[in-house]
Amino acid sequence: MKILKLTLHHIRRSPFQSLIAFFTVACSFFILNSFIFTNRGLSTVLQYFETKPEITIFLKDGLDQDTVQSVQKELSAYPGIKEIRFISKEKALELYKEMNKDNPLLTEMVTAAILPASFEVSTFNPKILEVIAQNYSGKTQIVDEIVYQKDIIKSLLDWTQIVRRAGISLIIVSSLVAFTMIFALIGMKITNRKEEIKISRLLGASKFYVKKPFILEGVIYGFLGSLIGFLLSFLIIYNLRQSINSFFQPIVFVQNLSLYELFLLLIEISTGVLIGFSASWLGAKRYIKW
C-alpha cells in the first residue's frame, strides 16, 4: 500500500479535522498574500512621491501683483528648477470644485476669497526643494504655509511602517496558528490511529515508515492551503484591480501581471510546505514513541 494512498485514507477518515487544518493554512496565506500586495502598492505610492520632487508655497492674502511676480522671479533663479506654476485664488477654487464635484455640500460655501494663491515648484534635484523650503519658511510676511513633499513622504512612510508592522505581526500570528493547528491535528490523528501504528510496528515497519503518512499529511495541508490562500487573494485583488487603481490614480497600486506573481506563488507554496512539514514532523516525533 503506497504511502500517499495511506495518507489520503487518513485524510478521508477524518474529513472535518482535515478541513479545519486546511482552512487555517489557507486563511494564513490569504492574509500573507493580501499583505504582500498591499505592501507592494504602498511602496509604489511612496516611490511616486519620492520621484516627484515638488513644493507648494501658499501665499498670504492681499499681496500685490509686484510682490507675487518678484517671488516668481526669485524662485526661477534657483538652479535645477523644472517648473513653476502659479495657482491663483480663482484657479484654486476651480481645482477645489473639480476635486469635490461629487460632494456639492463641500463646494457650496467656498469662494475664491477664502482659498490661498500658491506656487507649485518642481525641481530636478530634490535637495533644492529643501533650500527653497528653508529660505521661504522665514518669509512670514508673504508666505502663509509651505507644503513640502518631504512631509507627505514622511507621513506616508510612517503609515507604511505601521501597516508593515501590523501585517508582519498578523503573518507571524497566523503562521503560528497554522503551525499549532497542524501540530495538534497530527497529534490527535496519531492518538486515533495508535492501534494501526502499533500493528504496523509489530509487522516490521520502521518508526520512519509509520511517521511518513502523518508527515505527508502535514505537507499536503501546507501545499494546498498556501495554494488556495494565494489564489483566493490573487483573484479578489485582480478582480478589484480597476477600482483600486482608479482610487489611487495616477498611481498604479495593483501592478500588471508579471513573473513576480509566479515567483511569489512558488515562495508561498514552499513556505506552506515548510510549515506543514515542520509541524507534522514535530507532531509525529512528539506523539509516536513506541
Binding site: 500500500m1 500493528i199 516490521g204 515508515y209
Partner: protein
C-alpha cells in the same frame, strides 16, 4: 531462522510467568507451545517479537540477543521475516483485508508489481478469495483468523508465529488450518511456532512441544 531462549525469566510484578526457561528452535521446525491459560504462551510470542523484554536472560534470533541489538532497525528487520497470527487478530479495522495484506507487503518492501498477484494467491490459499475486499468487522471470527493467516503468509516469512490460531474456528476449519500450516512447513521449510491449548492437535501430530505450566515449564 534460529530462535533460542536462554534462561529466560519473565515477571509481571510479583507474578512469575517463567523462570529460567531455555529452549532452541531450529530453522524449519514445527513447534507447539502448550499450557493452560495464563501460563505465558502469548508472553513467549511477545518475547520473540521483542514486544516485551524478559526480566532476565536472552532471546537470541539468529545468534543476536534481542535485548542487546545495537542498531535501531535491527528489530524491524527481524520482524519483517516473521509472519504473525495474533490471538486478537490485530487487523487494521478501517482497511479492507486486501489493504491490510498490501500494507504488510509494503512494510517488507515486496516488489510493487507482485503485490496484487501475491494477495490473490494467499487469499485463495486460505479460501477468502470472495471476502478480501471486506473490512475486518464484516468478517466472522473464523474468516478473520484466515485473513490473519493470509497476511502472515503473504510476506513469505522465515517463521510463522501463530498465537492460538484455531481459537475461533470450528473443528473442521481448525484442522484445515493445521494442515495448511503443516504444508507450508514441509514445502517452504517455514518455521512454525504455534501456541495452543488443544491437545488433540499436539497428540495427533508428531511435532516438537514446549509445555508451559503455571509456575514451571518443561521442554520435550
Amino acid at each position: 531462522m534460529e530462535i533460542v531462549f536462554d534462561k529466560i525469566t519473565k515477571n509481571y510484578g510479583p507474578i512469575s510467568v517463567f523462570k529460567d526457561l531455555s529452549f532452541k528452535i531450529e530453522p524449519g521446525d514445527f513447534v507447539f507451545i502448550t499450557g493452560p491459560s495464563g501460563s505465558g504462551k502469548s508472553t513467549l510470542i511477545k518475547l520473540i517479537l521483542n514486544q516485551i523484554k524478559p526480566s532476565s536472560g536472552d532471546v537470541l534470533v539468529d545468534g543476536k540477543a534481542l535485548n542487546h541489538l545495537k542498531k535501531r532497525n535491527e528489530i524491524d528487520n527481524i520482524r519483517r521475516k516473521i509472519g504473525v497470527i495474533f490471538q486478537d487478530f490485530q487487523m487494521i479495522t478501517d482497511l479492507t483485508v486486501e489493504e491490510n495484506i498490501a500494507l504488510n507487503l509494503d512494510i517488507v518492501n515486496y516488489p510493487q508489481a507482485k503485490v496484487l498477484p501475491r494477495i490473490n494467491e494467499v487469499v485463495k490459499m486460505v479460501k477468502l478469495q470472495h471476502r478480501h475486499f471486506l473490512f475486518p468487522n464484516q468478517l466472522s471470527g473464523g474468516e478473520l483468523q484466515r485473513a490473519c493467516l493470509a497476511r502472515a503468509l503473504s510476506i513469505e516469512p522465515e517463521v510463522i508465529l501463530a498465537d492460538e490460531p484455531t481459537g475461533n474456528l470450528d473443528p473442521a476449519n481448525a484442522w484445515n488450518l493445521i494442515k495448511l500450516l503443516q504444508e507450508i512447513n514441509q514445502n517452504l521449510k517455514t518455521t512454525i511456532i504455534m501456541t495452543t491449548h488443544n491437545m488433540d492437535f499436539v497428540e495427533s501430530l508428531d511435532k516438537k512441544v514446549i509445555k508451559l505450566g503455571k509456575s514451571e515449564h518443561e521442554n520435550s
